[in-house]
Symmetry: C2
């Protein structure tokens, strides 16, 4: 473990301990069990650690941002539980989703309660900037919901553009990450310039991260990625790759891509040989239209932009760990 890994781990552990002590009461049983189940499932706690590192990077004290970091993680888990209901997802982090383990009603309420707990934590922040913090938090919440709503709408539309895509991921993925880094900077009493820089850092990081997630669907080695290769293709997901290649492809290639565009997530390709052929031919189109390279370029550009935002911060170990983290997140193989 290098110095940054150690710092990340110690902050992640801080967040974990904070979260585990949160849901104590046992009434009502199912919903409180479900909340504990979600919070004990682990995960990297990236957003929470970003809050803490951003606070430190502007010279603040990590302890002051601990409640807010837990609040961000709770809000993130609220979105996961509700998204899983909407996407009809059977498992998450290798465990059955809440609505699968219990039922839709319990999952819906567990999500609502997690959001309530998120506000309770956020409100516990000891800061003269509480109203600003909560406004930011609330804008983050509404933005993430709007992002998910756009994502749902995309499923039923076959006219989604690359521009629409960036609006959607900017809200669904980017908003909460940018909220995390901005929140940390505000709590750490950062200057306006630092607050803006850290928000932008989160914005570009989120964008690069989502683009990379799209890319990894077709180019990662299955084992390393932990998902089935080509899942987005057989589900007809409107990824950057699909939308960008559609703007470039003609003739038969275009018809192949339109077939993917019109596929419903609720009716994915199930026939295995057919799946394999489809994934191969679509990936070949992504390659031949230069879309894979375009994605790689965009990931690099956004990562560079994110990292350049960190330059305006005073040199510190936290700044170094933020840099390390953005590299780590984006160095999944592709």
């Amino acid at each position: 473990m290098n110095i940054h890994e150690r710092q990340y781990e110690s902050l992640r552990k801080l967040v974990d301990d904070h979260l585990h002590s949160l849901v104590k009461q046992n009434s009502p049983k199912d919903v409180s069990d479900a909340c504990r189940y979600v919070l004990s499932a682990g995960g990297k706690r990236v957003r929470a650690v970003l809050v803490l590192l951003s606070c430190k990077a502007v010279g603040g004290n990590v302890r002051d941002a601990l409640d807010a970091s837990a609040a961000i993680e709770l809000m993130h888990n609220f979105t996961l539980v509700h998204d899983d209901i909407m996407d009809n997802a059977a498992s998450r982090r290798g465990k059955p989703t809440v609505h699968t383990q219990w039922n839709t009603g319990t999952a819906l309420l567990a999500g609502d309660v997690l959001l309530g707990l998120a506000y309770r934590k956020a409100l516990n922040t000891n800061s003269g900037r509480l109203q600003r913090i909560l406004n930011l938090f609330t804008n983050g919440l509404i933005g993430v919901c709007e992002g998910q709503a756009l994502d749902l709408e995309f499923e039923r539309r076959s006219d989604v553009t690359v521009r629409d895509y960036f609006e959607m991921i900017g809200k669904k993925t980017g908003k909460l990450i940018a909220t995390s880094t901005e929140l940390g900077a505000i709590i750490g009493q950062g200057t306006d310039r630092q607050v803006t820089a850290l928000r932008q850092f989160g914005h570009y990081l989120g964008r690069a991260f989502q683009l990379q997630d799209d890319l990894l669907d077709v180019v990662a080695e299955e084992k390393a990625f932990g998902k089935t290769i080509g899942g987005d293709i057989v589900e007809g997901k409107k990824t950057f790759l699909l939308l960008q290649s559609l703007e470039r492809a003609r003739g038969r290639d275009r018809r192949t891509l339109m077939r993917v565009m019109n596929r419903k997530a609720s009716a994915p390709l199930r026939n295995m040989p057919e799946r394999k052929r489809e994934i191969e031919s679509v990936t070949a189109i992504y390659e031949s239209t230069g879309t894979l390279d375009a994605a790689r370029t965009l990931i690099r550009q956004n990562t560079t932009r994110a990292e350049s935002m960190l330059q305006s911060l005073p040199a510190s170990r936290a700044q170094g760990t933020l840099l390390w983290l953005s590299n780590m997140l984006l160095q999944r193989k592709h």
Copy 2:
């Protein structure tokens, strides 16, 4: 219209206008359409008006409590949209429910967005007591969710007691009403004694209101009530009447009531002659065990307690309207 009706109407209109101007943007389309649909469905806006009246009753300015009153109404509508998903309800206020008109995903998100908007409104409150206001609001949110969770658990349990029932309605119905009155009192800069009095007023009012709702299921004239008589019985709902009469009945009566206790809401009695017989025999047991009288007594006691709380407030028109309102709400025929 008497002086109190006029005041109620003018405050209700103030809230309505405030709510209508709220959801303006059209992206994402379905979710924003759904939010507007919910907010334009009307309703009495009782909780919002209670915020405003409570603020006035302690000498505050209604304008200061307008954002908070909209916030409470938004939170209430959030619970309705999510509850309707869980209860699989087809209509509300004579219109299709959101998940029926759109789909479950859109309804789930519309609820989430309404809650986000609720916080945005609450945060807009100009008060030196903002942290206290938002903590109260958040406790209200978590309480209401816990109440709904208990209600869901009751559906699967056949060992629910009258005591469990009061815990459940205290959260599901009472909590938001008590939060409304307390919120108004805090924003109006009421003294601690006044704040407590108005919270208690809301608590007892909510309890009386829910008991009356249970009672009206069996004794109201169908037309006046607007619901089918005996709906709770054929759905096996754990009402005060069912739970209380179960504690009193013996022999064959008890077996009849246990049959109702074990009925699932998802599998209500559908055969019409059977329904009619069941409603008649269960209502007869409610009558013979003195349960209807017990309910009437409790409604009267709780109303009296609620009203006595208003005595500690200075005499004012708002105080008079609160008194009038509690009478009005509880004078539905039974």
